[in-house]
């Protein structure tokens, strides 16, 4: 069944048609959310929220690319999720021994997230990129994710994030510059492998 027909039926209240649309786009949506949130659970939550929100807003869909419309809802859900995370920041707990002394680095307080050494030790380039991506400001992260990861064009990104195309261009340029600067550190550790790995990834992807 064609997407247009599915949309029409979904707008008319057909839940099966709506679910068909979700199945078609859920992978892109989840991956965009994952790159923005840098956390699988948070990305899953944001995607689920986006799907519910899309179901509620179906009657406001006014044509155009359904994928762009869905991604707009996903990015908004990610914004909401990030805002919620900021509102409820993790409280640092400093445990004490029976004598009242502070335990400097208990096992359960260890940062399980990847450090630069671990990053290069695991799936090098992917983790390095994700590490740098997470360090970007939200607005830059979303633009570079949509253009370079999801493969959206400038116009689609402008529609998704609701800004002029000029803003998309300038944000993308700055995001790429920051990413390049961040990856420079990893490249210094692995000077020859960086491009080699990307070439391998290209071959795998093709």
């Amino acid at each position: 069944m064609e997407e247009t027909e599915l949309i029409t039926r979904a707008v008319d209240g057909d839940l099966d048609a709506f679910n068909q649309l979700v199945l078609q786009h859920q992978e892109v949506a989840y991956n965009v959310a994952y790159r923005i949130m840098a956390d699988e659970n948070a990305a899953a939550d944001a995607t689920q929220d986006a799907v519910i929100s899309m179901y509620r807003k179906l009657d406001t869909y006014r044509g155009g690319s359904f994928k762009s419309w869905f991604l707009r809802i996903v990015t908004n859900a990610c914004y909401d999720e990030l805002r919620r995370q900021r509102r409820r920041p993790t409280i640092p707990i400093e445990p004490e021994t029976n004598e009242g002394e502070l335990v400097e680095s208990p096992e359960w307080l260890e940062d399980k997230s990847a450090g630069p050494e671990d990053v290069l030790g695991t799936s090098e380039i992917e983790n390095a990129i994700q590490h740098c991506l997470s360090g970007l400001d939200q607005k830059f992260r979303i633009v570079i994710t949509l253009v370079d990861v999801s493969g959206e064009d400038y116009e689609a990104v402008a529609r998704i994030i609701g800004t002029p195309i000029g803003t998309v261009k300038s944000r993308l340029a700055r995001a790429r510059l920051k990413m390049q600067q961040c990856l420079q550190g990893f490249r210094e550790l692995l000077p020859d492998q960086f491009r080699h790995i990307t070439e391998e990834h290209d071959e795998l992807a093709s």
């Binding site: 839940l15 709506f18 679910n19 979700v22 199945l23 859920q26 992978e27 949506a29 989840y30 991956n31 994952y34 790159r35 699988e40 990305a43 899953a44 995607t47 689920q48 799907v51 519910i52 179901y55 509620r56 380039i125 992917e126 990129i129 994700q130 570079i144 253009v147 370079d148 990861v149 493969g151 064009d153 400038y154 261009k169 300038s170 993308l172 340029a173 700055r174 790429r176 510059l177 990413m179 390049q180 600067q181 990856l183 960086f194 491009r195 790995i197 990307t198 070439e199 990834h201 290209d202 795998l204 992807a205």
Partner: protein, 295 residues
């Protein structure tokens, strides 16, 4: 090569557009010429191409589960559809109403111009400003003015003084201003005096001067009967109240003016309504917030 410091933000944007193939043919050709001339730009392009390729090559994460909705989830989503915007809008409307009420009252209280004399309230009172007029009127009404029996004709008018050495003349000059204040029933003036007063008043109104000889001739013709008075005082009615000022009509005017001013002082919207609106705005806002956070 460290090209970051060498390349401007504009060039960086152009570089990205070149990389993403969004430049026009003309701009593309121009940029390619610049690329050939600038090793920094060439190096930047290489780095950016590598970055883009590596970003594109990121593996696609498989979804942890399907994000489709069940019937119950869909129903639940539909149920909450109207609640959030309804309470949100209700709160906003209440707040706007409240702001309009307070704003308008603030403006009327602080920036309203005084009423012009042409307005009805101002016309009833001697002064233009209702407040000052009311105050004056209140003071006057709290201290009633007793007009004692002070001659029917010569007493009240200033003209009495004008008739130097001639009592009759004094009477004649005093009549123009004196008689209007005396109520007919309280007037001590004898009945036959009325036509005489009228007769004598006319020349005064037209600006003419009544000569003492003329008055004397009128008296001699018995047009009016005037009892002999010592400086205009009637001995038999001494101490009697002739009239009280302000008269009833003036008091009623003052009361009316007072009512108008009091009504002006009263707020346009009763305080109860304001409290109800504020309460509603707060309640709707809280419900909206709770629903939003719950979502």
């Amino acid at each position: 090569m460290n090209w970051q410091a060498e390349i401007s933000e504009k060039d960086m944007t152009l570089l990205c557009e070149y990389l993403d193939d969004t430049l026009s043919i003309k701009d593309r050709a121009k940029f390619e010429t610049r690329l050939q001339q600038s090793p920094e730009l060439t190096q930047a392009l290489e780095d950016m191409t590598a970055l883009k390729r590596s970003m594109r090559s990121l593996p696609c994460k498989p979804v942890p589960h399907h994000f489709t909705l069940t019937r119950s989830e869909a129903e639940k989503a539909r149920r909450g559809l109207f609640m959030l915007p309804t309470f949100g809008w209700a709160s906003v409307v209440s707040m706007i109403l409240l702001a309009v009420i307070f704003g308008s009252e603030f403006i009327f209280t602080n920036f309203s111009v005084p009423q012009t004399p042409a307005e009805p309230v101002a016309m009833m009172l001697p002064d233009a400003a209702p407040e000052s007029a009311l105050r004056q009127a209140e003071e006057e009404s709290s201290q009633p003015v007793y007009l004692l029996n002070w001659a029917s004709v010569g007493g009240k008018g200033g003209g009495g003084a004008g008739g130097s050495g001639l009592p009759v003349g004094g009477m004649a000059y005093g009549m123009g201003g004196g008689l209007t204040e005396i109520a007919p029933e309280d007037a001590v003036v004898a009945e036959p005096e009325q036509p005489a007063e009228l007769t004598l008043t006319e020349p005064m109104q037209t600006g003419g001067v009544v000569e003492p000889t003329e008055v004397a001739s009128m008296l001699s013709e018995d047009k009016i009967t005037v009892e002999p008075l010592i400086f205009g005082v009637r001995e038999d009615q001494l101490g009697q109240v002739i009239t009280i000022e302000p008269v009833q009509s003036e008091i009623s005017a003052v009361v009316a003016a007072q009512e108008v001013v009091e009504s002006e002082k009263e707020p346009i919207i009763p305080t109860n309504v304001k409290w109800i609106l504020a309460g509603l705005a707060a309640a709707f806002g809280l419900i909206w917030l709770l629903l939003k956070l719950k979502r």
